[in-house]
């Protein structure tokens, strides 16, 4: 079902793109008007702005030396209506876009060049229309990459659905979850799970929520309290649901305490201070820091270290990872954290998507190696053919 939807998506995109090719040729023929400048021979080009929604017209001109020091006004004519769209502009820029127009209407433009008392006027341009495009050609490269990635995903998810099993390597920090929860239980201390200061739309937060589900389930099995102080109210409500479901799955819905997943404040340091105080008071035996962390990471990790908790951290914020590496027992670095959620779920479709990501990585590595070889042969050994190939490769990317 999903595979079909994905294919459908690709088909629509392709058909839209081919239609765009036809559109754009028409645009080039109809919408370009060239106007001569009085006395100076300056050419003013007006045309529809490409790759937009049809509410903008681009005006271009080449300035010559005789107009140095002049200021420029541009006027738009529509029927009887003459509107100044730019005043006292520096003409050296050579380009101006008028984005206050309606699509499909004919407009004309003229410019005034002013210096002291001298005013030079251009002829009115030929009528020009703004037209919306159905495909943004500047984003063609992104489109190809998206197709490539989406294709890889579709393929591996298809394989996973057909029952192919995939391997995923061991991730050290995750195997320690059991140990951390177990030790906390032995000591009769609660577990604290911090999702950082991201929102529910931030991907590390989502990965953190998945890992939370697993940790909460373990906690429920061991009958240990799990506290989730939150920074964002949406994350809080989502976390409540995740924990509740985990407790239900573990067969302990009665042990679920809603108030243990609480809101602190939506202020970075208010949050850090609040969590800090809570750590000092509750002395959790294990602390998980999985999500989006910024400057508060050090305060949290240092306090956690000082109360002697086992700490398992993970974030994508590279500036905070060094502190986690230093103060925590295990750290999931960047993408490891996202793979972690898959590793925990062991769900075939998820595994398939990780393999798809790995395939893209291999493609990137190959592109880089080809680039390196071409660069070496082309620029290092000065072989013209390879130089051209190298420039070509850089350009197409």
């Amino acid at each position: 079902m999903k595979r079909h939807l994905l294919l459908f998506l690709c088909m629509i995109s392709i058909s839209v793109f081919s239609q765009e090719l036809i559109d754009s040729t028409n645009v080039a023929l109809i919408d370009t008007a060239i106007t001569e400048m009085q006395h100076s021979g300056i050419v003013l080009n007006v045309c529809d702005t490409p790759n937009d929604d049809g509410t903008s017209i681009t005006i271009k001109w080449d300035i010559n030396d005789s107009l140095k020091g002049y200021l420029m006004d541009i006027h738009r004519i529509h029927g009887e209506c003459d509107t100044a769209i730019a005043l006292d502009m520096n003409p050296e820029k050579g380009i101006h876009t008028d984005n206050m127009v309606h699509g499909g209407t004919n407009y004309m433009y003229y410019a005034l060049f002013k210096k002291d008392d001298i005013v030079k006027k251009t002829d009115n341009s030929l009528p020009v229309k703004a037209i919306g495009q159905w495909f943004n050609k500047e984003r063609f490269d992104s489109f190809i990459v998206l197709l490539l990635i989406a294709g890889a995903f579709a393929w591996f998810i298809y394989l996973a659905k057909k029952g192919k099993s995939f391997y995923i390597r061991k991730i050290a920090g995750l195997d320690a979850v059991e140990e951390a929860v177990g030790r906390s239980t032995e000591m009769g201390k609660p577990i604290m799970y911090l999702l950082g200061i991201g929102y529910v739309t931030d991907i590390p937060t989502i990965a953190g929520l998945t890992i939370l589900g697993r940790v909460a389930k373990k906690a429920a099995e061991y009958d240990t309290r799990i506290m989730v102080p939150s920074y964002d109210p949406v994350v809080m409500t989502t976390a409540q649901e995740v924990v509740k479901e985990a407790f239900t799955e573990a067969g302990r819905p009665d042990a679920y305490r809603k108030e243990d997943t609480m809101y602190i404040t939506q202020d970075q340091f208010g949050y850090a201070a609040g969590v800090d105080g809570m750590m000092m008071r509750e002395k959790p035996g294990a602390i998980f820091l999985q999500g989006l962390f910024f400057a508060e990471s050090l305060i949290l990790a240092e306090t956690g270290y000082s109360i002697g908790a086992i700490q398992i951290a993970g974030t994508t914020e590279t500036a905070q990872l060094p502190f986690f590496v230093a103060a925590c027992d295990y750290t999931l670095i960047g993408e490891e954290m996202m793979a972690a959620s898959v590793y925990l779920e062991r769900e075939p479709l998820m595994l398939g998507s990780i393999v798809a990501e790995d395939l893209i990585k291999i493609i990137i590595v190959f592109v880089l190696i080809i680039g390196f070889i071409l660069g070496l042969l082309g620029h290092g050994f000065k072989i013209g053919f390879f130089t051209d190939m190298f420039e070509w490769l850089v350009r197409i990317i």
Partner: protein, 280 residues
């Protein structure tokens, strides 16, 4: 051996006092240190310096009081630079908590150079929804900023006459304390080819080097040290330059801490190993 062990288990509060002293004393006596300008800061300076006459420079305040010591000195040096060259700074704010900081610096430096509000510069203030805004400015800045920070319509101010979207902004300078800078690169840079210079807190600066190398940003000013370099470049040494002495001593102290901590660690480890050997 005993001394090392004792020192290793020293009370945290002693460490705290030592670091406080090391920062306070140079702040009071203000010794002078030479400052060498690094390449990314030089590039940031050149990007501003080589702008055409009357250029519009959009400055985005994406930090708050918590990062003020790192970015405020740069903001002041940058504004001085813009006013010296008669560029038009257009101030916008993406972090609401930073709005008063931007306004303070802008009014202070504008008064120094006798610049007039609305003609030479403007302060558009804060609007919520930063990604939507960055996308929106690509089409028309008035969708989001139809009035300035006081609520006056921008049509009143000639400086905004010809400014509609990124095409009319010669350089965008983001002062960043978080991930907003990446979003500028991702949206204003990637989608609209806006030229960007970023000034970041030292925490975020290392993560912006690949943008600098790839040319997605043209210059990079990192932390108070970067601000000090910029102050030297515009020849207006101020708070950042004054802070460099305290910065130097504090770094030396922390290096010392790490080295000593590790010596204690290795001595301890060797002892333990010996003890183990003895039992065998």
């Amino acid at each position: 051996m005993n001394i090392i062990k004792k020192l290793a288990n020293i009370d945290r509060r002693i460490i705290f006092i030592v670091i406080a002293i090391v920062v306070i004393i140079p702040l009071i006596f203000k010794p002078k240190f030479p400052i060498v300008v690094s390449e990314p800061v030089q590039k940031a300076y050149d990007a501003v310096n080589n702008l055409p006459e009357g250029a519009n420079v959009m400055i985005s305040i994406d930090y708050d009081a918590a990062s003020m010591p790192e970015l405020q000195p740069y903001l002041e040096a940058l504004l001085s630079h813009c006013f010296m060259k008669d560029f038009h700074p257009i101030l916008i704010v993406q972090w609401q908590l930073g709005a008063p900081l931007g306004t303070q610096a802008l009014e202070k430096i504008a008064a120094e150079y006798n610049k007039e509000y609305g003609i030479d510069y403007i302060n558009l203030g804060y609007r919520p929804g930063y990604v939507a805004q960055m996308v929106g400015i690509g089409r028309e800045i008035r969708t989001y900023f139809n009035s300035d920070y006081k609520g006056d319509l921008i049509e009143k101010y000639p400086v905004m006459n010809n400014i509609h979207n990124y095409d009319d902004i010669d350089l965008l300078i983001g002062l960043e304390a978080g991930a907003t800078g990446q979003v500028w690169v991702q949206y204003a840079g990637a989608r609209f080819d806006q030229r960007i210079v970023l000034a970041l807190t030292a925490v975020s600066a290392p993560d912006a080097y690949f943008f600098f190398q790839s040319g997605q940003i043209e210059g990079l000013v990192g932390g108070m040290k970067g601000a000090a370099e910029y102050e030297i470049l515009v020849d207006k040494p101020d708070m950042a330059v004054a802070g460099m002495a305290a910065q130097s001593f504090a770094h030396m102290l922390i290096i010392l801490f790490i080295v000593f901590g590790n010596i204690a660690y290795f001595v301890d480890k060797r002892k333990k190993n010996k003890a183990k050997g003895g039992i065998k």
